[in-house]
């Protein structure tokens, strides 16, 4: 039932390409495309053709936006209410090994880079 609604939403997006400014679509309907260029490169990197279909890129963008929205809503409801913090995201992702490892790597890398930049700045400033 819910899946039928989702697919109907996708159909509407592909069919009605007027570019008109209707009321806010449930699936990010007539909103401007946020990630078209980056998603194309990403799809190529993940194994698709060098020129992926625009409709596929649109579907993927809607899915990503829905994913971010769901994650944000869930993060707002746990931990500190109404705010999104890194710990909440890490908690939500704990069951998925890939995403968990990726977030851990990204955050540790970020810390290392910050430390390196600070040390570099101090070195140039001191000398």
């Amino acid at each position: 039932m819910a899946e039928d609604e989702d697919e109907a939403g996708f159909f509407d997006d592909e069919g009605a390409d007027d570019g008109g400014l209707d009321g806010a679509g449930g699936q990010g309907g007539k909103r401007k495309r946020l990630f078209s260029k980056e998603l194309r490169c990403m799809m190529y990197g993940f194994g698709d053709d060098q020129n992926p279909y625009t409709e596929s890129v649109d579907i993927l963008e809607d899915l990503v936006i829905e994913f971010v929205t769901e994650m944000t809503h869930k993060a707002m409801s746990i931990g500190r209410q109404g705010r999104v913090q890194v710990e909440d995201i890490v908690f939500l992702i704990r069951k998925d090994p890939r995403k968990f490892a990726r977030v851990k790597d990204l955050l540790t890398m970020n810390e290392e880079l910050k430390r390196a930049r600070k040390a570099f700045d101090e070195a140039t400033y001191g000398s």
Partner: protein, 207 residues
């Protein structure tokens, strides 16, 4: 706040001091299992001790370990310090091995493969757009780390869908580029595996 990687490692150290020898096995399992392993062994101990002498054996065990720490300084404290270092060395060696293998692999790529690999590594969601999206949902500002984490997870998510869609495309005997029907079938499959979050449908157990 504390680094998530550091938080995970502190859990086994916090539970080991007052524990029996059984918990040493937990320390040697992988990092991600430590929290769960320690908690299940704790509940196991409660059940095995039985209802009669429940508090006494635990106290005796705690006294013994405390006395042990005072008397023999070459006992538990040193073992606790050595094991995390050994694990770190082992992990560094595994990292170096992996880095070397990756170098060998990448050096033997064809040009098309190199292109694709470069796109795979370099593509990313723009941080500004993600930040704007999150802030439009929360209504308040978010820290930079949140944006970094969210764009990282979104990229992994997109990758999972594209991988599954390529699998579908292959199974149906068709070729890339991917068509919307492949993407939709991929989403349907991932939904049954619960890899796509969906809070719109509530499961009411007893009508």
């Amino acid at each position: 706040m504390a680094d998530p990687a550091r938080i995970k490692r502190e859990i086994p150290k916090a539970t080991s001091p007052g524990a029996d020898d059984d918990d040493d096995d937990d320390d040697q399992t992988g990092l991600e299992d430590d929290g769960e392993g320690a908690s299940t062994s704790g509940s196991g101990r409660n059940e095995t001790k039985g209802s009669d002498g429940q508090s006494k054996p635990k106290e005796e065990a705690k006294d013994e370990s405390a006395a042990g720490e005072d008397d023999e300084e070459g006992g538990d404290p040193k073992r606790l310090k050595v094991e995390p270092e050994k694990k770190k060395e082992k992990r560094q060696k595994v990292d170096e091995d992996e880095i070397q293998k990756m170098q060998v692999l990448v050096s033997s790529f064809s040009e098309e493969q190199l292109n694709r690999y470069e796109m795979y590594r370099r593509s990313a969601f723009p941080k500004a757009a993600i930040k704007r999206l999150i802030q439009s949902i929360t209504g308040s500002s978010v820290s930079q780390n949140v944006v970094i984490a969210m764009s990282g997870i979104s990229k992994v998510f997109a990758g999972e869908i594209v991988e599954e869609a390529l699998d579908v495309c292959d199974k149906w005997g068709e070729t890339p580029p991917l068509q919307p029907k492949h993407m939709r079938e991929a989403v349907r499959r991932l939904k049954t595996r619960e890899q796509i979050p969906n809070t719109k449908h509530k499961n009411i157990l007893f009508h």
